[in-house]
């Protein structure tokens, strides 16, 4: 059994928070560049150019790409042969968030009592932590700062099984259409299909972590991803909703077996500031 100090997890989370908020993943930046070539709207191209320049400034100055540095979502895949010592694992993650957001000049956006006093916790904790146990003796940590604007336009539907594939397509496109400019397009769309009320939104959230341009290895899902991407871009919403061909950068679909009575669909919307960073300890 391998031992891993809780302090090492705190250090890693702190660093991931800063790096995720300053440096946009390469697959997303490359997509900005290719969209600049294909976008037909002049205003759309102008916006994409400014987004590209924003990436360069944030990178050079090590400042947040977007002032909304999000809820801090942390996925941990914990090897079953790892023993975390020297502290509480979840506290170690939250300590890392607190330190990273303070040291990195990141905005603290978490408030208590959502329909009441809404008092800022002051350090962006608590993080939204998803842990899973996997084989092996390593810990993989993925940190996803998730902005409020795009999260607010995400949606869940418990469809009837008879609505089938068409029902899924309609719900995803309607969700993107309703989001329009609010969610900061061009978007990345994570779609979960199946499982339960909770599982389906988890699948959707995990899906937005995939690389732009990747396809689900299951042919029927890859085909759905292609169709959704094409039809979402036919909506005409365009960069920041001002009209154009680039409404989504990509659509990713993940599925899970479900109940005989159920067809849950979750759509998690990610803005163009599609930040995430991972490390394996």
């Amino acid at each position: 059994m391998r031992e891993l100090q809780a302090a090492a997890i705190t250090d890693a989370v702190s660093r991931l928070a800063k790096e995720a908020c300053y440096f946009l993943p390469k697959d997303v930046v490359d997509k900005f560049d290719s969209a600049l070539e294909s976008e037909e709207s002049e205003t759309g191209r102008d916006i994409l150019r400014q987004l590209r320049e924003n990436v360069s400034i944030a990178d050079a100055e090590e400042v947040p790409l977007c002032q909304d540095t999000g809820f801090t979502v942390v996925f941990m895949e914990i090897g079953q042969d790892v023993h975390v010592t020297g502290g509480d694992l979840n506290e170690a993650v939250n300590e890392g968030v607190k330190r990273g957001y303070e040291e990195g000049y990141l905005r603290k956006s978490m408030v208590t009592q959502p329909f009441g006093e809404r008092k800022n916790t002051g350090d962006n904790t608590p993080a939204i932590i998803h842990s899973s146990i996997v084989p092996g003796e390593q810990v993989k940590i993925t940190l996803l700062p998730k902005g409020g604007g795009a999260e607010n336009m995400s949606a869940l539907a418990m469809l009837k099984p008879s609505q089938g594939r068409q029902g899924v397509v309609d719900f995803v496109l309607n969700t993107i259409s309703n989001a329009g400019p609010n969610a900061c397009p061009p978007l990345i769309i994570g779609v979960g299909v199946g499982g339960s009320f909770d599982k389906v939104t988890y699948l959707a959230k995990k899906a937005i972590l995939r690389d732009v341009g990747s396809r689900n290895p299951e042919p029927h899902l890859a085909e759905l991803e292609d169709e959704l991407e094409r039809r979402a871009n036919d909506l005409g919403i365009g960069p920041m909703g001002m009209g154009g061909r680039t409404t989504v950068m990509d659509v990713f679909v993940e599925e899970y077996p479900t109940h005989i009575a159920a067809l849950p669909v979750g759509v998690n919307i990610q803005c163009h500031s599609a930040r995430h960073k991972e490390v394996v300890l």
């Binding site: 205003t43 002032q67 329009g180 400019p181």
Partner: protein, 189 residues
């Protein structure tokens, strides 16, 4: 299509010349405020008490910046979603507010109030927060310091990039832009 340069405070003539879809560069002093500050301002208006800021001719930018690093005037400072201010904006427009900068849809009530009170809603580029920060040459908190990122600030901006979304003629850049590029078979329903 080139940008129109405008300066604050906004005059009637400048506003009359702005049309949905116009790209603009804004210079001068603007105010900031988002959910919590709007709530307080409207509560004061309802109680008939004076506001801590004068709104006549001004622009409010819906933003909650990230903390400034040492040597920076302001941290990253892109727009937040404007729809959350919809229930407050008509009250402030009635008091003479002439412009708002944010991102995303406004409701019918706000769009009607813009026409009635001759004011404009601008869309800034959400997520271009590091770039926008470079167009801000000074920032000072002028009210509600206890709100932190949500305090009301006065910013001096130079060539702040935005697009006219809703003008005084009922134009809407989101609807018009989308209609131009939509391929109808998209929704298929």
């Amino acid at each position: 299509m080139s940008e129109k340069r405008i300066t604050t405070p906004l005059t009637e003539e400048a506003i009359a010349d702005l049309h949905s879809g116009d790209r603009v560069l804004i210079s001068g002093k603007i105010l900031t405020g988002r959910d919590a500050a709007h709530k307080r301002l409207v509560e004061l208006v309802e109680k008939g008490e004076p506001l801590p800021v004068a709104l006549g001719g001004q622009i409010i930018y819906f933003v909650g910046p990230s903390p400034a690093k040492p040597g920076q005037v302001i941290g990253s400072a892109g727009p937040t979603t404007s729809g959350r201010m919809d229930s407050y904006s008509p009250v402030l427009l009635e008091l003479g507010l002439k412009g708002m900068i944010g991102k995303g849809y406004r409701n019918q009530e706000v769009r009607d109030a813009l026409i009635k009170h001759k004011a404009v809603y601008f869309g800034a580029i959400g997520g271009a927060a590091a770039l926008i920060a470079r167009r801000i040459s000074s920032a000072k908190v002028i009210a509600y310091e206890d709100l932190g990122a949500e305090a009301i600030r006065e910013l001096e901006v130079e060539d702040f990039p935005a697009v006219v979304v809703n003008d005084i003629y009922g134009g809407d850049a989101y609807q018009e832009g989308r209609a131009k590029f939509e391929r109808k078979e998209a929704t298929g329903t």
